[in-house]
Symmetry: C2
Subunit: 323 residues, 2 copies
């Protein structure tokens, strides 16, 4: 199809790394504009160059401050940095600046920095697709580092984080074990632990607890990586150079060990899964979540218990196959 | 297909409300055994009788204790009660008793109580399907009240809770606003607020903050329900009778106002969406998440960047339509 149409002028601008063009591409992808997906298709040979770093942890652990400090460090090293900040409590998406993100706005005038907030409310099941799309767009636009910040609670959010090339799990002292119970779910996806706010007491206790957990963990599928436990006071920038070094060390190891290739294959697989689901969902449902008129009478019957949901599913699949 | 086969003896046992039979049905549904879905199909005319109550809130707010107290209250009223406890941090599913759930085990000998824990790790996107399946199985088995307990963080978990007939959002004093930041996401799905642990100071402050938020909230699509704010000390059973009454009042209101019908139609719709997605996913991927052999070479090419994920999706959809 791409050949039949005039080349999209936006594509060249994205390839040149122009922030406004990338933002428009991401908006197209989010809004289901077919030209968006076509552009990703055109970009795909440029993908795989960026280092995708996930930053995850419970609310209140200071993830955004860490991200802000990482932007600063990478910019100083001359790298172009993009941030995808997933905020499950926000209905806003796009340019909106959410709470903690205000700090990051100091980078707004810097053309080497791109920040995108993503609300997930109402995007049932859409989180994985939208994050993957944004990461690919930014990768295609030549950003060197893409930081994906997500709350480390909730299966969908954790699943998004774990597909990064390098995953940083942020913990803090004294947040309470039940609040970080989360920990149980995200312990195993960590490539690095960042214990933040170490200027308050309790950092040793958290570190000891992480170490004890690591001792019990099964070996990684690609052998010998033991997640380092780093101490930070991100408000003051303390520990950031060690974190940057830890990220680089993990990247080097994962490239050599095959872990990077394994994880990227997983990322493609999950992306394919999500796109498949979006396709069949889009056949039966409008973007606002309402069912398409053709199936509305059946949905009504199913709501009244006259037909079963499975009847409705069978009917939709028949129509889908014939389409 | 159902006609062609001998009737499943398990079906009668489920309809008679036998706990072991219901447990087996849920296991069949979880494991993708086709007989499970066929049984739900047979049960569908029996559905819609149970009152589905969602209990959600941050970790550490005492949701499980509240659920335990609700079981007690409903049993005293002669009702049969089922619990579906979704634990996003656990890899266990089925009979496993998770942490907090130990308390509920005191009901284990009571045939009028059924408790099912569901781990969600690894069930990427599967949470909605599995919870809906379990709720339908329990409804078909004649349970009067089905309590769905989920952590109120993470989009998927919140989405599961909001599809209940009545949603209780649990808050506690002093957990810190960032931890309950969550609040922003779940404020609007609450039919009742339960402020738990009100024996510690700070209950008034939380209540005032909830009230202030409610004053700003848009009106409910079905008019005049204002979520009551209830104070509990669930450890001591304080406030439970008022909670039970509040649940009944909401149920009566939502039946009369049309909100119950609206929400059940939504639940069917989301169930259909999830089943559709599961169908196409199951065509391309095995249950362990690996891609089916026919598509493995394409996935490899896409991982290497030789093909795009969209190429792979197009290929799978062609095969799916021809299947």
């Amino acid at each position: 199809m791409a050949q039949a149409q005039a080349p999209d002028p936006l594509l060249a601008a994205v390839e040149a790394g122009e922030a406004r063009a990338v933002a428009r591409l991401i908006t197209r992808l989010e809004s289901g504009d077919a030209r968006g997906r076509q552009m990703l298709q055109s970009l795909h040979r440029r993908l795989g160059r960026a280092h995708v770093v996930g930053v995850t942890g419970a609310p209140g652990t200071g993830k955004s401050t860490i991200v802000d400090r990482l932007i600063e460090a990478y910019r100083r090293a001359g790298l172009r940095v993009a941030v995808v900040a997933v905020d499950p409590t926000s209905p806003f998406t796009g340019g909106a600046i959410l709470g903690d993100r205000i700090r990051m706005q100091r980078h707004a005038a810097d053309k080497g920095v791109f920040i995108r907030s993503m609300g997930t409310r109402g995007a049932l099941g859409g989180l994985a697709v939208h994050t993957a799309d944004a990461v690919q767009a930014l990768d295609g636009a030549g950003f060197d580092v893409i930081l994906v910040e997500t709350v480390g609670v909730g299966q969908a959010e954790v699943d998004v984080a774990r597909l990064a090339d390098t995953v940083i799990v942020v913990l803090v002292p004294n947040l309470g074990d039940d609040v970080q119970a989360v920990k149980a779910g995200i312990m195993e996806i960590a490539d690095l632990f960042a214990i933040n706010k170490c200027d308050i007491d309790g950092g040793d206790k958290v570190a000891a607890s992480v170490e004890a957990n690591l001792a019990l963990a099964p070996a990684s599928p690609n052998g010998s990586w033991t997640p380092p436990i780093l101490r930070l006071v991100s408000e003051q920038g303390t520990g950031i150079p060690a974190l940057v070094e830890g990220i680089a060390t993990h990247r080097a190891w994962s490239e050599k060990s095959g872990e990077l290739a394994r994880r990227r294959a997983l990322r493609v697989r999950e992306n394919v899964r999500a796109l498949l689901q979006a396709d069949v969902t889009g056949f039966a449902f409008a973007r606002d979540g309402s069912i398409r008129p053709a199936f509305a009478p059946l949905l009504l019957a199913a709501s009244k218990g006259e037909r079963s949901p499975q009847d409705l599913v069978d009917e939709i699949l028949r129509a889908y196959r014939d389409s």
